[in-house]
């Protein structure tokens, strides 16, 4: 059981493969495999240049409608592209927040003026976006955002703090959930405002993660300014917009991600063979269990693609919980197989091996983009119709 491709789709695959191979074995050779999870703060300038080259060749935002600069690719074609991207060892995409979150949000909720102003530079790779949702007091309870925006004349004045903002250090813009009506019930007084990052009222402080890299940051707003008409979806309608954004965050990337997981899994198997651990009956069980889990993940994804369009189908609902658990377990298995050697770094002061990097980073998988606990609430309430927790 594989994805069944039409002649046109197969031609699309070949076209994507040819371009990626040429670029990543040519001008962008140094970027192969750079900037992946756990390593996203490296080679930023070069990856911005890569994003522009992708844009110029028409490979950014391929799933968007043509009127907004996309290629109107089906979710299947997007999956094919993502698979080829990982196969070619493409670098972490600095533009992915704009492409996968803000862009679709603007296409759905934005005004024609906003679409015209903001979508083209996402497609061309010229403007990089970050997402200003989480706050110290608003994680899983996102509706509790306290960052305040006040309309003064023609401008919003923003005060407050965001946290865990990926790529804030190098982003040009941020879409920020702000409280715009302090008296309304908490879900109803929020607006989604587009804020330029390069201004005096914003202070970005990178946060060092457990792996030693700094892929996300704290963002302090102290009198930061945004244009009056840069509210997405209307004032005090931000909760609806935010929920819409999170719903875009799934689907086509899964097959590409699995190709990545497959590569990591193969490295784990190689370690097991080399170290002799592959002869240990308990490790054999664990490795086989991981292999079975990986294969199932792929079939889950194929079934999800088959159901394209069916909103909130079960395969889509379980996807995040499934892959994050699988990946976290693989990280643990990798370290267990290495035994005492798992401790040894590539070098001082804290040069992690690639495997150590994704082992540590996998602990974030079950937290970001909706923690496992939030995922289980969503599955229980939307997938199974169980009653909501009183809030």
């Amino acid at each position: 059981m594989e994805i069944q491709l039409s002649k046109e789709e197969e031609a699309f695959r070949q076209e994507a493969r040819a371009w990626l191979q040429e670029q990543l074995n040519g001008p962008f050779e140094d970027l192969q495999g750079r900037g992946a999870s756990g390593d996203q703060d490296t080679y930023v300038e070069e990856r911005v240049a890569w994003g522009k080259a992708m844009g110029a060749a028409g490979w950014n935002c391929i799933g968007w409608p043509k009127e907004f600069g996309g290629r109107a690719c089906s979710i299947k074609e997007e999956a094919v592209f993502n698979e080829e991207y990982v196969r070619a060892n493409g670098p972490g995409n600095v533009g992915h927040i704009g492409e996968t979150l803000l862009g679709p949000t603007l296409i759905h909720f934005g005004s024609p003026e906003q679409q015209e102003r903001f979508l083209p530079p996402i497609v061309s790779g010229e403007e990089i976006w970050c997402q200003g949702y989480s706050e110290p007091g608003a994680g899983s309870d996102l509706a509790n955002v306290q960052t305040k925006a006040t309309l003064v004349g023609d401008e919003w004045i923003i005060e407050g703090q965001k946290i865990w903002t990926s790529g804030a250090q190098y982003s040009d813009w941020c879409f920020v959930l702000c409280r715009t009506d302090a008296d309304a019930p908490k879900h109803r007084g929020i607006s989604c405002i587009l804020v330029p990052m390069k201004q005096d009222g914003i202070d970005v402080r990178p946060i060092k993660q457990m792996g030693g890299s700094s892929e996300f940051a704290e963002v302090f707003f102290d009198g930061a300014k945004a244009q009056k008409d840069h509210v997405v979806g209307g004032i005090n309608n931000g909760w609806k917009v935010a929920m819409g954004t999170l719903a875009f965050e799934r689907g086509a990337s899964t097959l590409g991600q699995q190709y990545l997981f497959q590569k990591e899994f193969e490295q784990v198997v190689a370690v097991a063979k080399e170290s002799g651990a592959a002869k240990d009956p308990i490790f054999r069980q664990r490795i086989a269990h991981a292999a079975i889990g990986l294969k199932i993940m792929r079939v889950n994804a194929l079934r999800m693609l088959e159901h394209e369009g069916a909103d909130l189908n079960r395969e889509a609902l379980i996807s995040k919980l499934y892959w994050s658990n699988w990946h976290r377990d693989l990280g643990k298995l990798a370290m267990d197989l290495l035994g005492p050697e798992a401790e040894l770094l590539d070098g001082a002061p804290y040069e992690l091996t690639a495997m150590q990097k994704w082992y540590l980073f996998s602990r974030a998988d079950t937290i970001y983009a909706g923690s496992n606990q939030i995922q289980r609430n969503i599955i229980g309430e939307r997938g199974l119709g169980l009653p909501k927790e009183p809030r």
């Binding site: 059981m1 198997v269 097991a272 063979k273 592959a278 009956p281 054999r284 069980q285 490795i287 086989a288 269990h289 292999a291 079975i292 294969k295 199932i296 993940m297 079939v299 889950n300 079934r303 079960r314 395969e315 609902l317 379980i318 919980l321 499934y322 606990q373 995922q375 289980r376 609430n377 599955i379 229980g380 309430e381 997938g383 199974l384 119709g385 169980l386 009653p387 909501k388 927790e389 009183p390």
Partner: protein, 347 residues
Amino acid sequence: METERGYDPATWAQLSEELAWTALTIPEEYGGLGMSYLDLHPLMEEIGRALLCAPFLSTIGLGANALLLSGSEAQKERHLPGIAAGATRATLAFAEKNKRMDAVGVEAIYARNGSGYMLRGDKSYVLDGHTADLLIVAARPEGSTGAEGVSLFLVPGDAEGVKRAWLPSMDQTRRLASVELRDVIVSDEALLGDEGRGWGLCERTLDLARIALAAEQVGAAEMCLEMSVEYAKVRKQFDRPIGSFQSIKHMCADMLMLVESARSAAFYASALATQDGDGLEEAAASAKAYCSDTFFHCAAETIQIHGGIGFTWEHPAHLYFKRAKAAENLFGDPAFHRERVAKQMGL
């Protein structure tokens, strides 16, 4: 369910004669409907949901598949129409008291006897062995080892020297039996497939039965989930439905994740069985391992979510729980199948 036979003949007649379930995967030239293994998948899920008590898995998953895989034209013509019509119930007698699932476990022997064969040995854990009309028996020539020499024979259930007994078991919804072969004489036409190459055939048959069983486990696990969810919506404690508590909700969410993933594993294996594709062995082992774990987990959680009532004889939860454990062991447990996957990977 409460009889020694283990099924209701009227139900069997209905599912075979009226509903033609037994005919589903039998080719049309032998009186069947000629449908594929993928078509069997949803039926097996339904059988699992209902915990059907009938010799269906044995007859179709084991008997019919073994005949289809290597029966001679004459053997197929003789037995398959009866299976399709529900008149013949068949099973595979491969396991013995040593409980092994590999070729080494076959200790029963056969020897040439004139133009036919003589069979001697004790089979155990035979699915529906005490009621089957047709037994497919694995035996080896004395002195042979491993897979070498193992051959399969078609033996009528009432042949002289066949002594069968029900082995009462914890799972009340399925029947296991012992089959003693006391110098049973069969003709040369009883040999199924090539002499000495029976183990490969046996394994292939078992893999196909495992895939059908995996689909059954998916359906049964999903039924457990649905019972749990329904109960969690109506059962109130602390003035709230217990399903509004995250402790219960999250158990149900995990069950859904497992059920859908198990469905993917079984579905993938059914698709390979339909295409007779490469990797069938690994897919069957993967599906059997994962679906076994899933069904057991869901059945256990169902009892926990139902609380006291789930522990009673009146509520069906115990039947699912018992079937889950028995199904886990049937045709090899999850650890056995994970080891097969490890071998396939070259570990």
